[in-house]
Amino acid sequence: MISSAVKTVDLRVDRGGREVLHGLTFEVPRGEIVGLLGPSGCGKTTLIRAVVGVQIVKSGDVTVLGLPAGGADLRRLVGYATQTPAVYSDLTVLENLRYFGSVLGAPRDDADRVIEEVGLAKERDQVVATLSGGQLSRASLAAALLGTPELLVLDEPTVGLDPVLRQELWELFHELADRGVTLMISSHVMDEAARCGRLLLMREGVILADDTPGALRAHTGTDDLEEAFLRLIAEREEARA
């Protein structure tokens, strides 16, 4: 059993002719919910793309479940939900999930299971183009839950959802983690950070902190994670000056 679900060593990525990830080294333990937090444009999505193996990497290593990221053996084990919902807008929710399910080799009734899990039972036979923004992103999230992934990589899965649904999804994420699934969830809202087991705080393509929420609070001497983030930035600026 390999202990870390994701491991990167000195990961560097260029996008649009400039370096956007400046040598990231971190590990995500198995069965953990890791929150990837940072402002828009800090490199969260690029990092996530590198982990699922669709990003061209300049240098460094990304290992997922003990294998090089993006390898053929990982494609059944990693579930991925992009930030912009990636489903066919001209198909119904069920048709979408049946298709992605058969691509993954998941049983036929798996589509109905994930529809229940993301709370889209009523919209099951609705064409995706007619869904609201929140329903759309849940349909895309449902596709990532198909099959039996060991790692779920979710790029801002809870944006624009009402608080009750957000609560329900976080309960689902914790259930999955209890079953041993590792989750890597990006967000730019700090109030989600407290729900994670570990946090990776990113800014301008570097990792500012890689710790548990408790340890971060203790280190920065504040209970508010937003404030903790600000103090870490200030600490770093001071160190640079």
Partner: protein
């Protein structure tokens, strides 16, 4: 590559079409309408017998080129391609899935146009009707394969649609439809000799002349099939699991 994934992909594409009645209506109605127009514009049964088979080779080619290039571009820009590239789906599964779904659609399209042509419009075909359908469906697959390839060079749907005149109209001008190829300046004839649509039109001409399965027809079919395979492989090369 896995057969179940290929078939699931075809089913998905056909389901998308099922939800889009207007596109299906246009795909089948427009070539039929054009054929009816052609019949009455020419208004000469002998000339129609020569023109109609050639156009039956060109229409499905053009239509499938547009539909596929826009369709795959939507997969690229809509994020579904990126999602699929993280799954066990092989590039060939996607390409053959498209080929199978659009091949079936082409069969319906060609079937309807041919049926209308031979019944209502009085098309008198010297060759066998099955060879005609076969050549037309292969032409459709050729258009599809080239459309897949062309979509890799388009960033937006606007550009993808503009590729149609760029890829298709020079071929349509040089394929022997407007002026017989042997009457062209020799440099134009050489160019037309490397363009696949020339062979599609030549095959249709053979069919309109007689019902023998000539060696020219066999060569034309081989060239078209070869071009379909080469374009599909080029298309596969443009699908990348990793992007910048």
């Amino acid at each position: 590559m896995k057969l179940s994934i290929t078939l699931a992909t075809s089913r998905r594409i056909l389901a998308q079409l099922r939800h889009d009645h207007r596109t299906v209506g246009l795909l089948i109605g427009v070539p039929t309408l054009l054929m009816i127009l052609l019949r009455y514009v020419i208004d000469n049964p002998d000339a129609f017998d020569r023109w109609a088979p050639m156009l039956l080779g060109v229409f499905p080619f053009i239509v499938m080129f547009i539909v596929t290039s826009v369709g795959t571009l939507r997969e690229r820009t809509g994020g579904t391609l990126e999602r699929l590239m993280t799954t066990p789906l092989g590039k060939l599964d996607l390409l053959l899935g498209y080929a199978l779904a659009f091949g079936l659609l082409a069969l319906v399209q060609v079937g309807v146009v041919t049926a209308v042509s031979v019944t209502w419009l009085g098309l008198d075909l010297a060759g066998s009707i099955w060879s005609l359908v076969l050549v037309a469906v292969l032409d459709a697959l050729l258009g599809m394969a080239l459309g897949l390839f062309a979509s890799a060079f388009a960033r937006t749907e606007f550009q993808a649609v503009q590729f149609m005149p760029a890829f298709v109209l020079p071929q349509a001008l040089l394929c022997g439809l407007v002026v017989p190829r042997e009457q062209m300046a020799s440099w134009l004839e050489w160019i037309s000799a490397v363009l696949p649509l020339s062979y599609a039109v030549e095959a249709m001409l053979e069919l309109s002349r007689g019902d023998e399965f000539t060696s020219t027809l066999a060569r034309d079919l081989a060239v078209i099939i070869g071009c379909v395979i080469v374009s599909l492989m080029l298309g596969a090369a443009t699908l990348r699991r990793r992007t910048a």
